[in-house]
């Protein structure tokens, strides 16, 4: 393990966070709030820690391998969250540090689960910071760092692979740095488009920015207690559609950008994604029909909730706790599926689900015709055995982790529905679950142990388990291996 290189890279990320903190500082300044001091103190802390790591370590050997990639990502996310939580505690708006870390991790991992009981009393600077963590965390903090920091390691593909969700990672252009820049450019353009559309619909500027960042990262932090429910139908449609757009693989947007329409049109994952969304919307529409008067409202509520849960954003326009059980069950299933690989969404990812179904199909055929040879195809290409194996293993670990989190959370007496959905909502980076953690509730009631467990669940879920698992496994750090 190249420790020096690992810590130096993490130091660079912490410095990048200091730069990111300038934005909420500016917002606080604009609104003349006291919390500006908490940001300035945090920036100082980040500068000292990051500066010490970057200046203090000058590794001669700059080579990193897959192992270092995983550890860098895990460590970077942990330190970002621990430092990013400081402004909340220092300003006194979230007095408990554990709560503040929960809130920050929920931000960076684009979960959107909150322990706040009264969002509307928070200061603008902190609300902005909360949503900004969504925005950076969605596309990836390290990808962001790669785009802006010069002389990042040659082998940063290992870092990208560990941070970007999905079973396989493809670069858009030969150079990592350019790939990162293109991704962020697409991301920024889409976010700004949404902000403009929301402004056109009469949403105040601050709200538009916060909600657009929350949508872009598929996060879900808002500024209102009833999330998006209080806004006009037009605004709800805009946010609903943009959530769905941010759940699509960004490589496809790049292909559109370079006018390669055919592969986009033929993308199996995209069609599966659209298919799942459409089916869920229709089923829920039929199920909740009796609750609403007008069809347009039925469609809007159903579409918004499906879009929000499938992309693991977690905004809501209504308290879906009041919906019939069938609709809730569908939402629970959508939680696990998540968005497309290479998007900002969480969950298992549509591409994995599709591959699993294809594998099941080929396995069934193999049982009927034991001598048959069947290659699994996806996106017009053969999927190699290693990728399929990886998907299978991922699913197993996914279920095991979910079970473990549920078990620990169940120590709190809130009933199976609440506890299970809380574990799923955090692990899949959605935010609101069912029961008391539903859209109208919060995670404030949970014990510190549960909060800590859910915090880790969010990190595990966002980084797709392996980086965190490897970070905590002694074999990674052992000198013998």
């Amino acid at each position: 393990m190249n420790h020096k290189m690992v810590f130096r890279t993490v130091g660079k990320i912490v410095l990048a966070e200091a730069a990111m903190l300038l934005l909420p500082t500016f917002v606080s300044l604009l609104y003349g709030e006291n919390c500006i001091w908490s940001f300035l103190i945090t920036i100082a802390v980040a500068l000292v820690i990051g500066g010490a790591l970057v200046l203090g370590l000058r590794p001669k050997d700059k080579v990193i391998y897959a192992k270092e990639g995983f550890v860098i990502v895990a460590l970077a996310w942990l330190s970002l969250s621990l430092i990013g939580a400081l402004p909340f505690t220092i300003s006194g708006e979230i007095p408990s540090y554990i709560d503040a870390v929960f809130e920050t991790v929920s931000g960076f991992t684009t979960t959107g689960a909150s322990i706040l009981t009264d969002v509307e009393s928070m200061s603008y600077g902190l609300l902005f910071w909360r949503s900004f963590t969504h925005w950076v965390g969605g596309m990836g903090v390290l990808v962001f760092a790669m785009a802006i920091i010069p002389d990042f390691s040659d082998r940063s593909i290992h870092i990208l692979r560990a941070e970007v969700p999905g079973p396989t990672v493809g670069k858009l252009v030969p150079r990592m740095k350019d790939t990162a820049k293109i991704l962020y450019l697409i991301y920024i353009v889409m976010t700004v488009t949404e902000i403009i559309l929301l402004l056109c619909g009469g949403m105040p500027l601050f709200d538009s920015v916060v909600h657009s960042m929350g949508t872009a990262g598929t996060g879900g932090f808002g500024v209102k207690a009833d999330s998006i429910g209080g806004y006009s139908p037009y605004l709800q449609w805009v946010i609903g559609i943009f959530m769905l757009l941010f759940g699509i693989n960004f490589n496809l947007y790049y292909l559109l950008l370079i006018r390669q329409f055919k592969p986009v049109f033929k993308s199996g994952e995209l069609w599966a994604y659209i298919g799942i969304a459409t089916a869920a919307v229709i089923l829920i529409c039929v199920n909740i029909w009796p609750l609403y008067e007008e069809f347009s409202e039925v469609l809007r509520q159903s579409f918004f909730q499906v879009s929000s849960i499938l992309t693991t954003t977690g905004y809501s326009t209504t308290d879906f706790n009041q919906w019939p059980d069938f609709s809730k069950a569908i939402l629970l299933l959508l939680m696990c599926i998540g968005g497309c690989a290479g998007s900002t969404a969480g969950g298992i990812k549509v591409s994995r689900v599709v591959m699993i179904f294809k594998q099941i199909g080929s396995e069934l055929q193999h049982m009927l015709h034991p001598r048959s040879v069947k290659v699994v195809h996806f996106e017009g290409k053969k999927v190699d055995q290693q990728t399929l194996h990886g998907v299978g293993v991922y699913l197993m670990i996914y279920v095991l982790c979910l079970a473990a989190v549920t078990l620990v959370v169940s120590l709190d007496p809130f009933g199976l529905e609440t506890n299970l959905s809380a574990a799923m909502a955090c692990f899949n980076n959605i935010g609101p679950g069912l029961g008391i953690v539903g859209p109208a509730g919060s995670y404030a009631a949970y014990s510190d142990l549960s909060k800590a467990t859910l915090t880790f669940a969010m990190l595990f879920g966002r980084l797709e388990i392996f980086p965190m698992l490897l970070f905590f496994s002694p074999a990674t750090w052992s000198k013998k291996g």
Binding site: A66, D154, R155, K171, P174, R175, D178, D384
Partner: protein
């Protein structure tokens, strides 16, 4: 610059690593997915696994926007076809590795014209040319020729009993009156551009520039002069051996080739009637001694196996053959071989990588810099660049000692009125000169880049 490499074997992977280090956008194509996987893990490139002649694969790699396309698989025919298709699909420049001697005679010009190739590359022939230069001046470990005639940089390896051991460069100047310049010194892994106070040590590899006549005198004074290799033994009837033997024989030297495979021997005998071809196992020391190894001027090991080349060269060196050269393909072996005391190693793939990198730079140069030619020295750790001095150059007519040069930069030679000038402190650069700049660690695009 966007570059596509087809075939990521020994040569291809070295190419990729060099071109990425130069800052190019590289796309690698290989039919073996594991090779591509490995490559994308190590280098910042995009990999496409598939057939490099397939239009769909080439389109996926973005051949239409490629400024340079190099096909370097093991098959000449494949490379030619791949380049032809790439050219038709819009690649601006194409390079094909063509190494079969049958294509490398008069038919090469025809192929080149009709396939619209920018440059055919023959690693074996290039390696043979390099070997030929070394054999011409056996005292040097390596000889680098520049585009100006009669200007060369020779690399000397200082043995433990060298007269130069412990001398500073100022002392050296006083002791030896010849006009020469110590440009670059490799000590261990480090490559240094020395100043006057630099003290040479045994084990150093020293790069010198001088005119041939002065160099001859200097080597004589140093007691390093070895006579030109007239009598050469070559181990292994490889393609490199063929090109080398042909060049040596044309220059009037005696060549003896030892080869295990009888059919190869016959083929060689047919193609090289003036060479002595011995059928036998070159790994047998007895055979080598019987064939007069001890009386040879030079021994060149060119079999396909690095290990055998290194070991037999070691043996030849022990028999006091004045000049011993081993072909070593795997870069990892080079330091080990040097450890054994073998000073001259030739690596075809490194040679090719240098040439293609140079070509890529030259292409780029036509846009944003004025480098005429580029040479990689000392295992690629130092670079020599040629510039032509234009009117608007700010360096003109200032004495060299007054120029505020960056560290690790040296003006190694000035070419004026068809004469070589080995520069000293009171010389100056004039308009119309051709200048050779030596550097480690800087990327120089224009002559003014050498100033602080």
């Amino acid at each position: 610059m966007k570059i596509i490499i087809v075939g990521c074997g020994k040569i291809g992977s070295v190419l990729v690593s060099n071109l990425v280090a130069e800052g190019h956008d590289v796309t690698a194509i290989d039919s073996d997915p594991t090779v591509i996987n490995e490559l994308t893990n190590i280098y910042d490139v995009i990999g496409v696994s598939g057939n490099g002649v397939d239009c769909d694969i080439l389109a996926e790699a973005g051949v239409a926007e490629a400024e340079l396309f190099a096909a370097v698989t093991g098959s000449d025919e494949f490379n030619m076809l791949s380049c032809y298709i790439a050219r038709k699909m819009g690649a601006k420049q194409t390079l094909a590795r063509i190494r079969n001697p049958e294509y490398n005679d008069s038919s090469l010009a025809f192929l080149r014209q009709h396939l619209d190739l920018s440059m055919p590359i023959n690693p074996e022939r290039l390696a043979a040319r390099e070997l030929f230069h070394v054999l011409r001046l056996p005292s040097a470990a390596n000889v680098e020729t520049f585009s100006m005639r009669n200007f060369e940089m020779v690399e000397l390896k200082l043995k433990s009993d060298s007269a130069l051991d412990g001398l500073s460069l100022i002392d050296l100047r006083q002791k030896y009156p010849q006009k020469f310049l110590v440009c670059v010194v490799q000590r261990g892994e480090e490559v240094i551009i020395p100043d006057g106070n630099f003290v040479l040590k045994s084990g150093d590899k020293v790069g010198l520039t001088a005119t041939p006549a002065e160099l001859h005198k200097l080597l004589k004074n140093l007691g390093l002069l070895k006579k030109q290799a007239r009598n050469v033994m070559i181990l292994g009837a490889s393609k490199t051996a063929y090109y080398l033997a042909k060049a040596l024989i044309t220059a009037g030297n005696a060549v003896k080739i030892i080869e295990k495979n009888a059919a190869r021997c016959e083929e060689f005998s047919e193609k090289l009637p003036d060479a002595v071809i011995i059928h036998g196992d070159g790994a047998q020391q007895e055979l080598l001694l019987e064939e007069g190894l001890k009386s040879m001027d030079a021994f060149v090991a060119l079999t396909g196996m690095d290990e055998q080349n290194i070991l037999m060269s070691y043996f030849a060196q022990a028999q006091n053959v004045p000049k011993v050269i081993a072909k070593v393909n795997r870069d990892e072996f080079a330091p080990m071989a040097e450890h054994l005391g073998l000073d001259t190693l030739v690596s075809p793939r490194r040679t090719v990588a240098n040439i293609i990198v140079r070509y890529a730079r030259a292409l780029e140069n036509s846009r944003d810099s004025s480098v005429e030619t580029l040479y990689k020295l000392m295992d690629g750790k130092a670079e020599a660049l040629e510039f032509i001095v234009h009117n608007d150059c700010e360096l003109v007519d200032i004495q060299l000692k007054d120029l505020p040069l960056k560290s690790n930069i040296l003006i190694a030679g000035i070419f004026r009125n068809k004469k070589i000038l080995i520069p000293a402190g009171d010389d100056h650069i004039a308009v119309g000169d051709k200048v050779v700049i030596l550097t480690t660690g800087h990327r120089i695009n224009n002559l003014s880049d050498i100033l602080k």
